[in-house]
């Protein structure tokens, strides 16, 4: 029977992992690890899953073990956060390049220095070009739903790519929310059985995995990988459609909130989108035509679809919980401005860095951004494209 439970984001992730029941989970068990893996280790110890659990000595090892397990044909999952994500960096493009569909839960947390354990999107935004599929989640419910869908997306024979699903560290991972859970059987049926083509353990058809490819072949491998990632959009939507049939919750490439007739739009990822939707409602009540776009699938980046959803706006603010240091913009701004380029009546765009290291983003902060957009549209001028929001100057 489907259940309703009060869960933290971490609980929701471990519950999804329990229901997915992967063959192998290799994870570094202590900080900066999340509680999700600790809970999952309990599931293993209590015999609730058939998973081979490998508590490795570092995240570099955890991703390495995951790649090996996946190449051997196992459904493989792991989890990490911030510095742990950074430590597995070397292995991230290898998981993607070998097309091993490892599913990873990431709690978005800040990089040091200064030392900070709270939310920034430093980790996954830094890893956005490692060739993985990236899915962002606003709350515990979305994390649960996205993690289950990620298995089907990554393992699809036309895609065969690792998928990272993230949500905001502490803000979402440690807050208790209402989560609608599917029953175990439904999830198991939905994820099905993983059948890896060219698996290492298929002894009748031996293969070599991880050989070198030099000037004569490397480019073709990268092109093949790039195509697979770019072409995965249709399948991602197909999986979302199928998931909607079992859960009643439908996901797109991004969430569009009151954008259709809007004049001013905000683009914002993960938990802050929840706050921003509240502000949208408040300003709508005052007849200000505002709307919001919350990216969900970040890799592949659905630039064309986002452009279509935003092109009628007068002004857009893109807010990121990370600075792309030295670029004078943030990752999402660069993506979206690039997608919008060439439109005959290109909306004016501004860019904010907000909420670094877990700093609260308040209703009035978002409201200020919308009012700034009204000013920008009225004057037709952008005095400052890139700025920090809520900073002591």
């Amino acid at each position: 029977m489907p259940r309703i439970a009060a869960l933290t984001g971490n609980n929701a992730a471990s519950e999804a992992m329990r229901q997915i029941n992967p063959d192998v989970v290799a994870a570094y068990p202590i900080t900066p690890q999340t509680e999700a893996v600790e809970e999952f280790a309990e599931f293993v110890a209590n015999g609730l899953v058939k998973t081979q659990y490998v508590p490795v000595e570092s995240e570099h090892s955890s991703m390495s073990a995951c790649i090996g397990a996946s190449a051997a044909g196992s459904r493989t999952m792991t989890a990490t956060s911030s510095a742990g994500f950074a430590l597995m960096w070397e292995m991230l493009p290898i998981a993607a390049g070998l097309r091993t569909p490892v599913i990873m839960y990431v709690a978005n947390r800040a990089f040091s220095a200064p030392l900070n354990i709270h939310c920034s999107h430093d980790d996954t935004m830094g890893g956005r070009d490692t060739g993985w599929i990236q899915i962002y989640s606003e709350n515990a419910q979305e994390m649960y739903d996205n993690l289950i869908q990620a298995v089907r997306i990554g393992e699809d024979p036309s895609i065969r790519l690792p998928v990272m699903v993230s949500m905001d560290g502490f803000i979402t991972t440690h807050s208790v929310e209402r989560v609608d859970l599917l029953d175990d059987e439904t999830v198991r049926k939905f994820v099905g059985e993983f059948k890896m083509a060219n698996s290492l353990l298929d002894v009748d058809n031996p293969v070599t995995i991880g050989a070198c490819a030099l000037q004569d072949y490397y480019t073709e491998h990268k092109r093949q990988h790039s195509e697979a990632l770019l072409n995965s959009t249709a399948k991602i939507l197909e999986v979302a459609e199928e998931y909607a049939r079992i859960s009643g919750r439908k996901y797109g490439l991004f969430e569009s909130y009151k954008l259709e007739d809007a004049e001013y739009g905000l683009v914002i990822i993960n938990s802050a989108a929840g706050v921003a939707k509240m502000v949208v409602n408040e300003l709508r009540a005052k007849d200000l035509k505002v709307g919001l776009l919350k990216p969900r699938i970040y890799r592949p980046f659905p630039g064309t679809q986002i452009k279509d959803a935003l092109k009628h706006l007068k002004a857009i603010a893109v807010m990121d919980r990370v600075d792309a240091f030295g670029s004078g913009s943030t990752p999402t701004f660069t993506e979206i401005r690039s997608a919008m380029y060439g439109l005959p009546n290109q909306p004016l765009m501004i860019n904010y860095v907000y909420g670094l290291g877990g700093r609260d983003i308040r209703l009035e902060d978002i409201s200020k951004v919308f009012h700034k957009l009204v000013d920008v549209a009225k004057t037709g001028k952008v005095d400052k494209v890139f700025d920090y929001l809520t900073v002591r100057e």
């Binding site: 070998l98 097309r99 060219n198 293969v207 490819a213 072949y217 073709e220 491998h221 093949q224 697979a228």
Partner: protein
């Protein structure tokens, strides 16, 4: 080298090689600057060279070194270095191709 060069659509996913052992098609002898020369008179057939050769290029028959596979020998010189025979049963000379 492989006989036919594949395009990206013909290649299996994830840089997998489906015909194991295909490295025999890659003749690394072309890398060589120095060539090992085996002197059967001096050789005691201790097979140290056979143990140490990283490319399995020391050809042995009935417990005796019978030659060196120059198709794959990269000329690293380990065989000569490890040869315990005084005056060396394997010496490296310039490989004029």
């Amino acid at each position: 080298m492989a006989k036919k060069i594949m395009n990206r659509r013909e290649m299996p996913l994830g840089s997998v090689i489906k015909d194991p052992g295909c490295s025999v098609q890659y003749e690394t002898g072309g890398w060589r600057n120095l060539k090992p020369v085996h002197d059967a008179e001096k050789c005691t057939n201790c097979l140290m060279c056979w143990i140490y050769c990283p490319d399995s290029c020391i050809r042995v028959k009935d417990g005796k070194v019978v030659g060196i596979d120059l198709k794959y020998c990269k000329g690293c010189g380990i065989c000569s270095e490890e040869c315990p025979v005084k005056g060396k049963a394997i010496t490296m000379i310039e490989d004029k191709k």
